[in-house]
Structure formats: C-alpha cells, structure tokens
Symmetry: C2
Subunit: 335 residues, 2 copies
C-alpha cells in the first residue's frame, strides 16, 4: 500500500496542501472546525508525517538560544537543565550565550540570531542602565522571545519569574525575629528588576517592624572586589550591622571571607540569609540559610511558553506570565 | 583620495586578487616571499581591509562551538571564560553545547555543526565506552577541531591537557605522609582519559609506598546516587578506608554528606583531597584540600591553537599539544 501524503489528504478534502500541513501542526491560523475535519481524516487514513520533510518544509533551524548573564551561577545552570529537557522533547538543540552582564555583548548576540539561525530565544537580560531594549523588541517581532528571572515588565513579551519580593520580605523578617537590630542588603544594581524586588521586600519588612532604612546599609556593586571594600568598611564600624540579606550568591561568599578576615563570627556577630541555588549551602562553614529559586521549573515553564509560540499553538502572551515560589531554608548562618 | 582595494594591489603586482587576499591574511597557502612583497606594498599604499567585506568574502560564521560534558562544573565555566577572551579578541562568538556526558547528544551536536554553522570546535569529549570518535574525526577533516581536558590521544588532532597523573600521584603521597593506611579513589569511569591518568597516579603512589591496591577501593560511578551507596558501604566497614583521592568535585560533596550521615569526622576519620575548581573550597566545613586545574589557561591555550588553524596560520598540529600544571592546596580536609 502506498503511503498517504499531505497532497492526498488535500485532494480528498478539497483544501490546499498548506492548509492540511498547518492543521496537522495544530496551527492557530486554521479554524477549529477545519482542523478537526483534517485531523479526523488523517487519523482514519493512517497518515504519518515524514519528520525529515517537516524540517525541510518549515525551514526551521531546530535550535533555540538561551541568553544569560553568567554560566557559573547555579540558578542559570539549573534553569538551563529545565530548558534542555523541554527542548529535547521538541527535538530541538539549545545554544547558550553568556553576556557577563554586558549590554553590548547581548546586543551583538541578538544581531547574530537573525537570518533563521535560531527559531526562538529565552533571555534573562543583562544589566541595562540605559533601559534600551530595542534589540530584544526587534527580535520578538521576528521570532518568539520569552524572558525569565530578570524580567522587564515594560517589554511586551511573556515572562517567567519568582516571588522575589515576598521571599526577601520573609527572609528579612526571619533575621528580625532572630534579634537582628541592623540589617544590611547587598545586590548588583537596583536597575535589575529582580534585585529591585528583593530590595523592596527588604525595605518593607524593616518598615513593618519600625526599623530605619539607612542608605549606607544598601550596598550595590557590580564587582566582587568593590563589594569586599564596602562590606569591610561597613563591618569595621563600631555600630556595625548584625544581619545581612544578600541578593547575590557569589557576594555572600565574599562576605564570608570578609568576616574571616575581620574575625567576626557568623552567626554570632552577623546573621546571614542569601538568595542562592548552590547545592552545597549545607556544607559551608557555617551552613548557609538560603532563599532557593525554583530554577529548573523557571527554565521549564519559560521554554514551554516558547515552544507553544514556535509551534504556533499560542498567540496570546498576556496569560503566559508565570510567577513561581522560592523555598526558604534556615540553617547555621542565621541561627 | 580613493580608498585602495585588493584589486588595485593585485593589478599593480601582477598577481590574482585571491592571492593578495590570502597573503594579507598570512595564509600558509602563499609563499613567504610573495606574502612579504604583498604586505610591504599594502602597507606603503596605506591599504585597510573592510571588515564587513572580509566576513562576506570568507563566508565565515565568525562563530566557534565549545562542546563540554557539564556546564555546572567550575572547571568548564572557568575554561569557557578563557575561551571567550580569545574568541572576543578574534571578533568571534562562542556557542556552548552541553552533552551531559551522553555520546549520542555529542554526535547530534557534531552533525549540527555542518554547513558552515561554525568555523571551529573545541571539545572535551563525553564518556565514550564504545571508543567511537568518527563524528569528531569527520568534523576535523572539514573544520579545525581542538580537544581539551578530556583528550583522546588516538585522535589525530591538537589538544591541551593538565598533568593529571603527577598531580594525583602527589595528592596520594600527601595522604600517605599524613598517616593514611588505606586510601580509596573515586571517579566516573577509567575509560575517560583524565580519570585513567588520575587513577594511575593514585595506584603508582600506593605501589611506591608498598601499599596494596584493593579493587573495592576503586569506586567508578556515573551517577552521584550510586556513588553514595558504594561509599556508604565502604565507609561502614570495620576496616574502612581513612583516606580519599577524589577525581570528581561533585562526588566529593557526596562523600561529605555520607560522612555526616555516618557521623564520621573529616579529617579525623577520613582525610580527603579532591580534584576541584570550586572557588569556595576554603569555605567548606572542613575546608577542602584541592588539586586545581588551570582551567582558564587550558581554555585560552586550546582556543589560541584553534584560532591559529581557523586563520590558517598553523598547519602542523603535532607541536600544538600542551600540558599545563595543576596547583595542589592542602587545607583542613587532609590535615
């Protein structure tokens, strides 16, 4: 028996081959009634698509790009793992682009994505003091783009993020409950949306408990070296802080080093809670209290939205914005 | 004044435009005498190449691929950093492909590299029990390929690696000097060349000091879960080992967990030295004695070789094999 083709189905039902093709891919471009009719006929006639022909016809690269600030951050490696699983099940490859938080690098990457090199982009944008997102907006007019973690609400595109404000609020409250009288905050820049949310959670918890918000207790730095200097200065003061909410995992380790240097004991002299996805938080000395982002889930959800758009199964994005919950674990560093 | 072009130089010197073009790129395809003559004329005539035209003419993707087993391994993120620096100075992009140590995934990636998608490949091959390297060999006939870290001497291509044998020998001797009577070894598989070298260093140090090599003390596992079971069994024995040389950083943390579970103290009951590139070894409880690979240097050297080949400045690879030295640091875990 000859294998049935899309042309056979088209001829039989009196529609174009392209209509059959799009209906079988469940495209939004075809009405539900027509899709139903075509799918029913294809099933009855035992039609199976040729995967090689699909790839050729659709002129797809079968590749998505993931643009992230920093590969050595466990949050991103874990998110990537979730992304890869979804990509694999869609028979797609994943290319990883690391911006090192440099806007210019990110712009060059986006230029690189043109001409069908990739079919979709997942991006956690670089630190962007100029608020210039043209490269992302332009790309999203050509191919599907989904933001994750560092989302930019002003960008009209789907995103997946976490309850950063609430988690930071709770982390700060925990330190207050443990008796901290002065809590400082470290981050990269309040221009980065997730950092801003974490900062606001910290501020509002202080306000709720009638504690003052001191400008010198908000330490924003884009380099660990500078951070060490600021923290050293702050912790050497006679009225030094006795608590820390850290929005950046690698900076927390810098604070551990500064405490060792100044012979300050954690948690006796300084209680610490940190946003962190390191799997080794419990092995540190002392073990680290953490706010863990559901990184794998973030990656999975973001790529599921992306593939719905790549496969043209979803045109609306307003409903696609997802917020996932972090997990707080209290250990030795805040005891 | 009109800008001078390659055609002007070719006409003036009576050679073809393609000869001028290749001479100006310092290609090995052009004789030294001809290159000298053309370069001297171009300099005197104040010729400057149009970078956009170069890219178009050469039909280059201006992209290299880096294929690694595991992005969450600090060795690879640090190597990647070295690679990116060299790529940047060559105005190239870096694409990262993660195999999760799966040969089939690696083969699919290599298929993907055809058709000019990338101009060169840096690879640290996946665990390959079947010893089938056809995909790498075939690719290296088409575009430059350089191996790093996990090198495969049977492959006829340049490589950069470390003194894994010597470092493992010294690490094992250090444990013997500290009084360890029975030292076990953990790794992924002795089919992986670097693991084999580390295993041989361990064995030869035991031999040198007249200590027996017990088969049950060589623990090879490709999953942390299985490893935990084997280590739990070994450390629960009445005649349990009192020393460990770990060839795999993430497995070392599994051993820390098993020791906590069995209430064995590191280093009192078990002294540990681990191959590891984590920047936080000194913050662990206890701080971890490490063999640190010069990861950034490995990445830098490997990509320098690759770019010499991409830019056709180097045809011989026999002289390109490089071995770099690890750094041993003894801390609390082996005290």
């Amino acid at each position: 028996m000859r294998k049935i083709t899309i042309n056979d189905i088209a001829k039989e039902l009196g529609v174009s081959a392209s209509t059959v093709s799009r209906a079988l891919r469940d495209s939004y471009e075809i009405s539900t009634a027509t899709k139903k009719k075509i799918m029913a006929y294809a099933k009855q006639a035992n039609y199976h698509p040729n995967p090689h022909a699909i790839s050729l016809r659709e002129r797809k690269s079968k590749t998505i790009a993931v643009v992230i600030p920093d590969i050595s951050n466990y949050f991103f490696t874990q998110a990537l793992y979730g992304i890869e699983q979804v990509a694999l099940s869609n028979q797609y490859h994943v290319l990883v682009y690391q911006t090192h938080d440099q806007l210019q690098t990110e712009i060059e990457f986006f230029n690189h994505f043109q001409n069908g090199r990739v079919d979709g982009v997942l991006v956690s944008p670089a630190n962007n003091p100029d608020r210039s997102f043209e490269h992302i907006e332009r790309m999203s007019e050509m191919i599907p783009v989904v933001c994750f973690d560092r989302v930019e609400p002003s960008l009209q595109m789907p995103y997946v993020t976490c309850n950063d404000y609430d988690s930071s609020f709770k982390a700060t409250e925990q330190l207050i409950k443990k008796g901290c009288k002065r809590i400082f905050f470290i981050g990269i820049s309040d221009i980065i949306p997730v950092i801003k949310l974490r900062l606001n959670g910290y501020k509002d918890a202080l306000k709720k408990h009638g504690m003052p918000i001191l400008q010198e207790d908000i330490v924003m730095c884009d380099a660990a070296q500078l951070l060490a200097e600021r923290v050293r200065w702050l912790l050497a003061k006679p009225t030094r802080p006795d608590g820390l909410v850290s929005a950046v995992e690698r900076y927390t380790f810098t604070v551990y080093d500064v405490c060792n240097e100044l012979q300050l004991k954690i948690p006796t002299h300084l209680r610490i809670i940190s946003f962190s996805n390191t799997p080794y938080a419990h092995l540190l000395n002392p073990s680290l209290s953490t706010v863990v982002l559901p990184a794998g889930e973030v990656g999975k959800s973001a790529s599921e939205i992306l593939f719905r758009k790549i496969n043209k199964k979803d045109t609306k994005f307003e409903s696609s914005n997802i917020t996932l919950n972090c997990v707080l674990t209290f250990r030795g560093s805040s005891a």
